[in-house]
Symmetry: C14
């Protein structure tokens, strides 16, 4: 039984793929934006942080589910 | 039985992939928009928050379903 | 039996991926639009809300089906 | 038997992915269009509503089939 | 036997994904076109309706097949 | 036996995905073309109709095969 | 045995997806081309017809194979 | 045995997807090219025909293999 | 045994998808190139032929393997 | 049992794909941004580091889950 | 046993997909390059030949493996 | 048991795909950036190294998990 | 046993897909670069050769693994 | 047992796909960069080599894992 649980936890962890790509896209445009308007870097960094935090959250949901699967269903 | 439930919960958690990519795309353009029109940053941040909150919600739906699967179907 | 139901509910919850990406795309262009035409922000936000609400609805359909699967078919 | 029905209903609900992405694309361009031509917002919103309603319909087809599967084939 | 039928009906309903994305793409350009040439909105809406109706039809084919599977093969 | 036939019919119906996306792409450019050259709308609509009819045909092939599977192989 | 034949026929019918998308792409550019050069519409329509006929042919190959599978292998 | 042959023939027929999309892309650019340089339509059509014939050939390879599977391996 | 061979031959035939798309892309740009520089059509056609022949070869490899599977492993 | 655990751990490790692509996209734009505005390199590098750290975190979640699967479920 | 070998050979032959698409992309740009700089056609054709030969080689690797599978493992 | 472990290790090793593509994208833009601003090559190379090291790390996570699977679960 | 080895060798040979596409992309831009700057063809060809050799190497890794699977595990 | 190991080694070898595509993208832009700024070819080649070496490394990780699977788990 433990073995199939391992697969379930692995699938849950995959949720981080979306956040990984999303944060990368956000950061790429943020560096471009800073280069274009260096004096707005404070505001750009705030928006970047806001978006990345929300995207990171989706990865954390998957992480939490994976941990719950390992601990609760063992 | 618990093992297949783990896979179900893992699949449900994957829903966060969409939100992760979506929030990343939204943030990327928001930073660009702030760089182009720094004085509109308040309005841009409001629209960004509105969109990200709705996108985040889709990840939370998956998260809730995953938790329900773990708790109710165990 | 409960285990396969879990997989069904998980698949249903995945519907949110589309809404997550879609809302992100919509928000990204909305922030760009506000930066280009800040005085039209009211109209832009209205169109954004309209679209996001309809897109969110598709995620909710999946969420509802997932809940129905968990409650009715258990 | 109920379990495989759950998977069938879940797959049917996935139909909403297309509508979710489609409505997002439509909304993204609509906000851009309003920013470019604010005085045409009425016509733009009408076209947006028409398209979104038709796209939403495809999600509803999947939703209806999912409900029918749960109720009729149980 | 009913269970596999449910999966067949679910797959058939998925046909709506194509129409959902297609109608979204069509609507997105239509709103842009109205913004560029507001006085041609009647002609644009006619072309949009023509295309969306044909695209919607593909979703309806899938819907009809799903219903036929549920009713005839039960 | 009926159950696997249902899956076969469902797969056949999926053929409509291509037509759904294709018609959407065609319509999107057609509305743009009408906005750019409103006086050529007759010719544009003719080309649009020609293409959409041929694309729709591919969806109908899938639909016909799905019906044949349901009726002949039951 | 009939059931697996149904799946084979369904897969063969899927060939139409490529033609559906291809014809859509071809038509989209053709409408744009007519808008740019309305007096060349005859030549554009000829090239469009030539291409669409050849693309449609690929869908018909799949259709023919599907029919052959249903009739010959039943 | 006949049933698995049906699946093999169906997969072989799928080869037409590539040709369907490829011919569509080729035709789309050819119509654009004719609109830009109507007096070169003869040469453009020759190149289009050459390419489409070669692309169509790949679909025919799949078609021939599908027929051979149905006739030789039955 | 013959049945699984059919699937193997079908998969081998699929190799033509790459060539189908590739030849289409090559032809699309070649028509564009002829429209831009009609007097270089001889050289363009030579390069097109060279590339298409090499791409076609990849489809033929798959075709040959499919034939060998049908004849040698029957 | 150990064998299925190995597959689960492998799937969990795959989470790094998203971060790998995301960091690559972010870095690509950062180098472009530095080339455009060399004097803003400090700010660009800070934003790049912030984004990459968050993206890397998603890969680490998958890594941690993989280790947990190997150690706890053996 | 021969049957599974057929599937292995088929998968190996699929390697040609990459070369098919790659050669197509290379040829497409080469024709464009010749149109832009007809007097450099010799050098362009050399680079095209070099690249296509290396890409073709990857298809030949797959072809060789497929032949080896058919001959050595029968 | 060893056999399934081999598949798990293989899947874990696949993590390198993301890093491979990501590093390629980063390098492509870095060479472009150096060509545009040769005197900033030091800073560009530093950012490139930083990003590539972090991306490479994701591949190494997968590599480490693969080694752990082979050594610990044998 | 030989049969599953055939599938393993086939999968290993698929590695060439990446190299096939990659070399094609590299060659396409190289021909464009030669057309833009014919006098730099020596340097362009050197960079092209360097990149293609490294990309080809990835295909050769897969080829070597496929041969090793056939010879060592038979 | 040896047979499943072959599949595991094949999957591990697939890691080279990412590197193959990535190196191709990097090389494509490098040739373009050399054409734009021939005198910076030294620096461009250094950056290209650095990136390609790191990308190649990801393919080598997969290659090493594949060899380890074949030698250690036989």
């Amino acid at each position: 039984m433990g073995a199939l649980i391992a697969i379930g936890a692995g699938i849950a962890a995959l949720t981080g793929i979306g956040a990984g790509i999303g944060i990368g896209i956000a950061t790429s445009k943020a560096t471009e934006a800073i280069a274009r308007q260096p004096e707005a870097k404070g505001d750009i960094n705030k928006a970047l942080l806001l978006g990345c935090a929300l995207a990171e959250a989706t990865a954390i949901y998957g992480f939490v589910i994976a941990i719950m699967i390992i601990l609760f269903l063992k």
